[in-house]
Subunit: 252 residues, 2 copies
């Protein structure tokens, strides 16, 4: 295999270099970068090239360009890379563990401020989920609605967003492949039952119960997944990552 002579365009190299300096902290958050003209000189490139690189960083949300003032570092980390090439993402087990910890806390909180309208939201998601066990798309959408719905009960947009984002990570290419094997009408029926238990606990204002029910749900979900995972990849270590899958045991 011959490698396709990578001759990266200059402005990308410059962007990478600056991005690295920001990530490493060499350019602190809030700090002003040297002027475009100075950057061009220091990097031995022309100003247009520097500008193009800076525009890339601006689009990525790393820097803030203010006319007449300067260029400022906004944050260190690209919260979302081009999404297409997003981090080698975390493994499915890590994700489920994280969801267990976070969503248990949210369910607990939601039980403390449940109102009829919020419960109605969950009920709607439940009926949609149990009603369409043969339509994978519909079930997943309803599943998502249920989980974000719990966050909605708390009435906090950030929680809703975070919950949704974590749910959506199951759509990562790697995750997706396996999902088709372990997701089926049977597992979904179990999931609906577990959802209903969560809903009932929240409706009853039972914080501890809601937390426990959510933990059961995500633990079971993890178990269902790991079973088909074992079949699929018996023996192989999860993506060759050094991270021990054992860490995935929930101890909350």
């Amino acid at each position: 295999m011959f490698s396709p002579v990578e001759s990266r365009r200059l402005y990308r190299q410059v962007a990478d270099q600056i991005r690295l300096m920001i990530a490493s902290g060499e350019l602190a958050v809030g700090q002003r970068l040297p002027a475009e003209r100075d950057l061009a000189e220091q990097l031995s490139v022309s100003r247009p090239t520097v500008r193009e690189a800076l525009i890339v960083l601006e689009v990525e949300g790393l820097v803030n360009i203010r006319m007449g003032s300067g260029i400022y570092v906004v944050r260190q980390h690209a919260a979302n890379a081009p999404a297409s090439e997003r981090e080698p993402v975390e493994g499915p087990f890590e994700l489920l563990q994280a969801r267990a910890i976070i969503e248990c806390a949210i369910a607990e909180e939601a039980a403390g401020c449940a109102e009829p309208e919020g419960i109605a939201l969950l009920d709607d998601a439940l009926t949609r989920m149990s009603g369409g066990v043969n339509d994978a798309g519909a079930v997943i959408a309803a599943d998502r609605a249920f989980h974000t719905g719990i966050a909605a009960i708390v009435g906090n947009a950030t929680l809703i967003r975070v919950t949704g984002e974590m749910f959506d990570m199951r759509m990562s290419p790697y995750f997706e492949k396996l999902a088709s094997h372990f997701e089926g009408p049977m597992t979904w029926r179990s999931a609906v039952d577990e959802h209903r238990a969560i809903r009932d606990a929240i409706a009853a204002g039972d914080a501890a119960g809601a937390k426990a029910a959510m933990r059961v749900h995500l633990t079971m979900s993890q178990k269902r997944f790991s079973e088909s995972f074992g079949e699929e990849f018996s023996g192989e270590e999860e993506r060759g990552r050094s991270r021990r899958p054992a860490k995935g045991t929930i101890k909350t």
Copy 2:
């Protein structure tokens, strides 16, 4: 009313226009765009401006620029908004509430699996934070390291990422302006003390204590913020900008 004067930077206007043509299907997927020189002429702007606009679209993954060949439409829809334009609708208070719920749970979990190396991570962040109370950038970096460090103790990459992302949201332009007013050596010293309480509880394996300490920390942080928030907006409308005041009232 005077016309909006359209002061947006040119390359952004050009990018928007081309993006629109792609979205509307006027430029089909796979089709080649006119040459940069032609685009410049048709849009009555210079070629560098067209180039900058095209680089924006390339970073967004809408087009593929091939040297010597041309520019091709890759897909119609921007899968994810460019982060900079990402709805920041959530208010600072909502963010702090969400962090309280989530990070309390993480701290609780961390207390259950604390190991010397993890504690060392927190200690390092603490010393860096207390050591540089006069360097805003250093303190914020250390602050971030402390919070993500707790997630690191649990050993879950997803938790680390989520914690970091929530922390970084304080860098939103709206949040930032106020931060400079309520953040100072004094408030930071308080924050360090609260951090230390969290660290001690985790080191002692006291789950309930860690949870409580984290709650205290984020509640106090919210309080400090809300005080200066009141001062700042007591009457003056910041620079005549039509900023919406805090949308999120906290209901914890």
